[in-house]
Symmetry: C2
Subunit: 271 residues, 2 copies
């Protein structure tokens, strides 16, 4: 998917919502567990009810990988029922030396047909660029994550006072463009989102941490939005586990709709 197509969908739906599919067999409603493929049934119902409000879906690969080979079959089936115009993110945090990263890229871009994959930067250029060689496919590079551990390394300042995440932003400008490279930018600290936006004005951000992790949608939009929106804000648990009962899909729809309504206000305000 191209950046223009993504922006066009954002405008059409008045939404920059990404629904995170962290489909946990231990958390899905009990009545689904007798189905042949409970995780598929769960994801299918969530997708059907939220597709009007979401511009992206983000399956969390660990949740499928933990189910063994069957989990990868399920992931493939889930990917296939996501409507074509919706952006898909393999949240996989991959990254290895060149020829190995190329195979991870093939796994997500060719064997499956994801639009993007999340990639970890620690191993540097040759671990990231193999993912950038596929037409209309995207890397979403970890820059500043929303977890506590983000403070261990990402905020370390170098000899010139520049934090590591800023160096990741800077160096990766040579690897990709706003047409094929996004960044993971956590929502938990507004002033840091502003700093990232200043460093990379045109790139999209995938923003986790709104809701459950305490980030504010208003702040994210205030500090992070650009003229092409430039944001995909993810919500996982707040939507997919809004209810643990038979009405889970309807409850997911309601939560997605609520977020989309807030997003519409913010798009009208900032665009």
């Amino acid at each position: 998917m191209t950046r223009a197509e993504l922006f066009s969908q954002i405008k059409k739906k008045s939404s920059f919502l990404c629904v995170g599919l962290d489909a946990d067999i231990a958390k899905i409603p009990a009545h689904l567990k007798t189905e042949k493929d409970p995780i598929y049934s769960f994801c299918k119902a969530v997708i059907e009810e939220t597709a009007d409000y979401a511009v992206a879906y983000k399956p969390n690969i660990a949740f499928f990988e933990a189910l063994g080979p069957q989990g990868w079959e399920t992931l493939q089936k889930v990917l296939e029922i996501i409507p074509q115009e919706i952006f898909t993110i393999a949240d996989a945090k991959r990254g290895d030396i060149g020829n190995t990263s190329k195979l991870y890229a093939k796994a997500f871009f060719e064997k499956m047909d994801f639009d993007s994959v999340t990639v970890a930067p620690y191993m540097g250029a040759d671990s990231v660029t193999p993912f950038l060689e596929f037409a209309d496919k995207w890397v979403i590079l970890l820059a500043l994550t929303s977890n506590i551990g983000s403070m261990d390394f990402q905020l370390i300042k170098d000899e010139n006072g520049k934090p590591l995440y800023q160096t990741v932003l800077e160096k990766s400008q040579d690897w990709g463009t706003p047409e094929n490279l996004m960044y993971v930018v956590g929502a938990t600290r507004g002033e840091l989102i502003a700093e990232v936006r200043q460093a990379v004005p045109d790139h999209f951000f995938l923003v986790p941490g709104v809701g459950a992790q305490g980030g504010s949608l208003d702040e994210v939009a205030k500090y992070g939005m650009n003229s092409s929106c430039g944001l995909l804000v993810n919500s996982s648990r707040g939507i997919i586990y809004a209810s643990g009962e038979r009405d889970f899909a309807k409850a997911a729809r309601n939560e997605a709709e609520k977020l989309q309504k807030e997003m519409k206000v913010l798009l009208d305000r900032h665009l």
Copy 2:
């Protein structure tokens, strides 16, 4: 597997060789391609012929993941034929927020029965520690890798002049012990291996980059060996693709034996 069991095997075999199973469907001998599961047949033959000389096997997960669900079936079958006393490494470079890392750990330690998994440090403590909660299982944390891109971030010096990889070593001392935490330390620069060994005297290192990538086994032993050996030196392509013909397994055996003989000399010299 415990550290004592690993060291005992190293002494018994006079070897600290890890054979990397980067089993590429495009590179295996042509005659295998008519087999029902060519990658399995390839790995099985390599394992049978090298098991006398190897103390560890390291399947490169990308190569299996790129084959889709069938690849995970193959990986499981390959893991099951590795002799019980040999250490197994899922070279997966995983790492994500806490509950997600826990699921990756379950995938490799419970769903499959690997002894260890390689983990990327960028997301910090809570992305690594979930892997350390499994008895007799190991994290092999990326510290200083052997690829060109390792220079992009791993060598960046902080305000006190300390390079990032040293901070990774330092902080991770609080997360694990020499009994459940190893480090990836590339073989390409002897003086850096010495610096890592000084920072973490007791931990095992998984050392890629000997052979094809230019590292010297002598230097690795000189600068990296400790009183429990403390080294697993990996060779992938140099062994498994020593021949591309019908004699590939025999050729792999010869290469593994050659490395083991060199390792015996080094163990006798340094231990």
